[in-house]
Every structure is written in structure tokens, then in C-alpha cells.
Symmetry: C2
Subunit: 193 residues, 2 copies
Amino acid sequence: MNIKHNKEDILRKGMELFRLNGYHNTGTKEIIKEAGISRGSFYNFFIDKDDFGIQVLDYYGVWSTDYMKELLNDTKLNPKQRLIHLFDLFIEGYKRDHYKWGCLLVGMTQELGQINPSFSNACERNFESFVAVFQACIEEGQAAGVISEKQDARGLTLTMLSMYNGALVLMKSGMHHEPLEAFQTQLALILTP
Amino acid sequence: MNIKHNKEDILRKGMELFRLNGYHNTGTKEIIKEAGISRGSFYNFFIDKDDFGIQVLDYYGVWSTDYMKELLNDTKLNPKQRLIHLFDLFIEGYKRDHYKWGCLLVGMTQELGQINPSFSNACERNFESFVAVFQACIEEGQAAGVISEKQDARGLTLTMLSMYNGALVLMKSGMHHEPLEAFQTQLALILTP
DNA sequence: AATCAATTAGACCAATCTATCTAATTGCAA
DNA sequence: TTGCAATTAGATAGATTGGTCTAATTGATT
């Protein structure tokens, strides 16, 4: 056996490039160059660009949910405060990097959702992971009486995720911070019982 | 002078294809074929594909805002009811077409926002038209006391638009109707004073 | 140290994409 | 009807893309 390059490093670079510039705007040439590997290596690890894309999606899903779970386990805060804190941190990060990032799932859904069922399955699967993580926290908050029960946990989770994803799109379109701020304001309102 | 093909017909076809399959997934070949024109004609009307893309964006913006304005002028309903009615109609349309459409501005922002400033400008410009139309209605509703004032008109508009765009993304990813329903439920909640 | 399967390098190929170019055609104006 | 500028058609060019191929290299195992 002979392992020199780390598959995970390539996935991480791909994730970065796809988030920044989209799937079609990122050529295999650029991925290979940025990851510092050769064409041969790339096709040794992945069947083709689509296979790579799907694996990047799942990598992003795990990478994100791991971080979200970590933040939502901070028992020093109540569930509502944890959610608000999580989004505060995310938004701070976007601001720090001049709003250049976005959600990979949103981008991939838009770009490939209708084209390739493998991609739309991967997007849905990973969105559902996000939902699961958030929903658990919201259920806990509702049971504890610190999160509004005007909408059921699943519905409130979908709403919150929609609002966040949509705010990121407006942010990326050039409005930058304002939609994020509106999101933060409204998030507090809809979570409060 | 010699006009055979209508520029607007080509723009409409382009809008349709870009909404369905995205910008990079739609070749000039397909646009030409679907619009029933020749390559020569296309490049007679438009400088290049990017120029076409920008014009499609603006065409979509005008086409959408015209329809929204029409719906939001229905004085038989109060401003809050008008907004809810508008989204009900939109969502009904998505359902009827099996959730295959999406918002062109969302797609273009994701696909080209970081790549080409002309595109991000066009996206922001058209998003701002949407905001203007909705904000006028929300302001009217707040003044009349039928729309919540917990968030200022601009903020509430951005929130609502984010929520809607985000719900469309989840819809497109394969969740179909559920996120739209969650949106409708929450929309009524956040608008109510 | 020798062996050998796995990995790597990057030239190369085929397909595709955008855009151009020229000849044929169109339809208005005189 | 004729003349002419504008439009159209579609072959073709040039660039870029994703993917393959083979020879060289690597490193674990014996």
C-alpha cells in the first residue's frame, strides 16, 4: 500500500472552491492545482468530477453538523440561547471573511438540483442532517418552555433554516450584512415563546 | 430595417432555461435551438452569453415585479392579506409544476455572484426591486395597524424575502411542499401584530 | 536489498463550449 | 422592379473541459 496524499485534503479544497465559485466554475484543473496533486491522483481517488462533487457534499455535511452539534451542546446556555449563539458565531465568520462564503448545499441545489438526481439526493440528505440537529435543540427548548410553540418543532426548524439560507443568498448578492442582521432580529422574535 | 425574431421571446426562453437548469448548464446551443433562432441572430441581439445573462436577469426582475405589484394592488384585501395571498398563489404555481422552478436571482447569485461583478450587481439591483415592492406593502400595513411593528419595515421585508427564498431552496433540494408550508405558517405569525 | 503492487506525473485525447465568419436571404425604400 | 442594408444560417475556428493512458516512482514487505 502506498498513500501520499490525503483524500480529505482534496475534499476540503474542493469544498472551499465549490463554496466560493460554484461547481461549474471550478475545473478539475483548478482543484488539482490547488490541492497540489496530479491529475492521475485525482482520478485514482474519485471516479469522475460528479463522484468528487457528491463526496464533497457529504464531507461538507459532516463537517458542518459536527461543528453545529458541538455548539448546541453548550449546556451553559439554554436551547434558545444556544441557537442564537450559533448563528451569531456563523455570521461573525461571514463578516470576517467579507461575505465571500455561502452554504454549499444551497449552491449545489441551485446549480445541479434539477440536472442530476445523485446531487439532489445528496443535497436533501445533508439538509436533513442539518434539520435533525436543529430540531433536537428546538424540541428541547420547547419542552423546557424557552422556545415558542406557535409552530411545531419540525416546522420551526424548517422556517429557521430557510430564513438563514435565504439571508445568506441576499448577503452574497451584495447586500452583505443587512439581511443577516434582519435575520438575527427576527430569529429572536420567532424563538421567543 | 429587418426584424424577424423578437428579442423578448429569446429573453423569455433564456429565463426559462436558466431557472430550470442554471446558467452554466444551459449552452448557447440550447438557447438558440429552443428559441428557434440561429447562432447568427443570437449574436446579433447580444454581445455574448454574459450580456444575454444580464439582460435575462433584468427581464426576470421586471416580469416578476410587474406581477407582484399587480397582486399587491388588490384593494379588496388589506396589506397583510395581500402578501399572504401573493405567496399562496406563487406556491400553488410551484406545486402545479412539480416544484421544478426556482428563483432566478437566487440561482444566479449562487452561481455567478463571486465570479462576475456585472452579475452580482444585476442580482442585487433586482433583489432591491423586489424589496421595494414588498416594503411599500408592509409599510402600508404597519401604518394601518394590520402588520406587526416588532421589526421595522425594511427588516421585516428582508426577513420575509429571505424566508421565502430559503424555502424555495429547500423545496428544490427535494423536500418539495413541506418547507413551503412551514413558510406559510410562519409568515402569518410574523406579519400578525 | 530486492520485489512488486500501488501511486503519481503530466502529456495526450475527445468532446464541448463560446464566438466568429462568410455567403445566402430577407424586406424596406426608391 | 431594383438596390441595398440588415438579418439569418450554419460551417468553422479556437479555447477549455473532463477524462485516459503509459512510463516513472514510491514505499511497504520479505
